[in-house]
Symmetry: C3
Subunit: 159 residues, 3 copies
């Protein structure tokens, strides 16, 4: 894996954005032992909340794209936290919230937008445990929110 994470991102045409700053009174990540806990990142498009509700104003394909975009923001935060994505030993766990109308039951497909990208980028180290479910709402009316736990080889200082 090592250095090639950035080559993979290049090959996917992904340019990591500036890490998102929390819109409220918390930090983007904390470290405890060799675990990094990343705050819930909401889906954004063009730098603004990617709003909408699956099964109402958005289709599954929109949700997949929003989850993928959110994973890219999570990678940007991981990069900022670690200084080097090659120090990520594994993606331990995702919690994927999908802003869902009562009848929408494809949260797992939406979440794949994030999961697939992490596996593409990190290979076996990107395979993670996951919970995905429907939220009644998400801050700013965003359609997706994702929280991530990673294990790292080198523990960074506070976020």
């Amino acid at each position: 894996m090592t250095e090639t994470v950035y080559e993979t991102l290049d090959a996917l045409g992904i340019c990591l954005p500036e890490p998102v700053r929390p819109a409220a009174a918390f930090v983007p990540w904390t470290a405890a032992g060799d675990l990094l806990f990343l705050s819930g990142h909401i889906a954004r498009r063009n730098g603004r909340p990617w709003t909408g509700r699956l099964g109402e104003t958005l289709e599954t394909a929109d949700g997949v794209a929003a989850a993928r975009a959110t994973a890219i923001d999570l990678l940007a935060t991981l990069h900022a936290a670690t200084g080097n994505l090659a120090t990520v030993r594994q993606i331990v766990k995702l919690m994927v919230l999908v802003n869902s109308a009562p009848g929408f039951t494809d949260q797992h497909l939406v979440a794949n937008g994030a999961s697939d990208l992490l596996i593409e980028v990190f290979g076996a180290a990107g395979a993670h445990a996951r919970s995905a479910f429907g939220a009644a709402q998400i801050p700013f009316g965003s359609c997706v929110e994702i929280e991530l736990v990673a294990q790292v080889a080198r523990v960074p200082h506070a976020g």
Copy 2:
């Protein structure tokens, strides 16, 4: 505790099923240090998603039964991950999602279906921290989804 976990399961008439395979791009569990992170397991009945919404199409007793069934699936995954349930030091934490109509407020009673079983099976080592709440929806329209963190004495290899 040790070997008697399986005896307890026998006494309860519980035969561990084949561990569920994730329906999407993730793995059933990951290990970090001595912690096991199990993916959200959705309630199943007869091998299919146990669908329905509490306070709408399902009663509390149904939810309790679904949560218990989900805990059995989690035990099957724990068994597959560890090779031996006697190496489980403690059940650290559950997150219990209940597919809930707006007026249903007994998520804690539903969640007891899982919590009670884990305490029956593991004794003091089964007493866990827990969050239970109502989800707007759950993948496949399942009525319950449960995520579990356990601490183990012997760390298994990747899931």
Copy 3:
């Protein structure tokens, strides 16, 4: 930080209540390594569930107050678990659930009621990762539920 945590609580006029006893089959906290996992605490007022739904029967300011009250209950549990809040190394992570009508999108503002207090009390050690989102319901119809992970210097015995 050390001893001054209790002085800060005094200065804020906060008297830690008796820790809440779980209303169901789980424990208020567990420890794994140097991590403490606190169960989801529901908002209470006058010792009873603080009921209501944001965007329906409650305003954002009510939610902020409920989240702050819940953080005080979490501090009471942390105090009971550790014997001394000065042994808290950092607040690692909060999950803040807000009982939300479909149109309410200010979960992050509600959650600040808890986050701001933790930062006031612990200073830099109180800065945490966080996810906040809308739940379809919360046990007892409570308006807010908060789960907390903390890292401690001295590991307590079972909760």
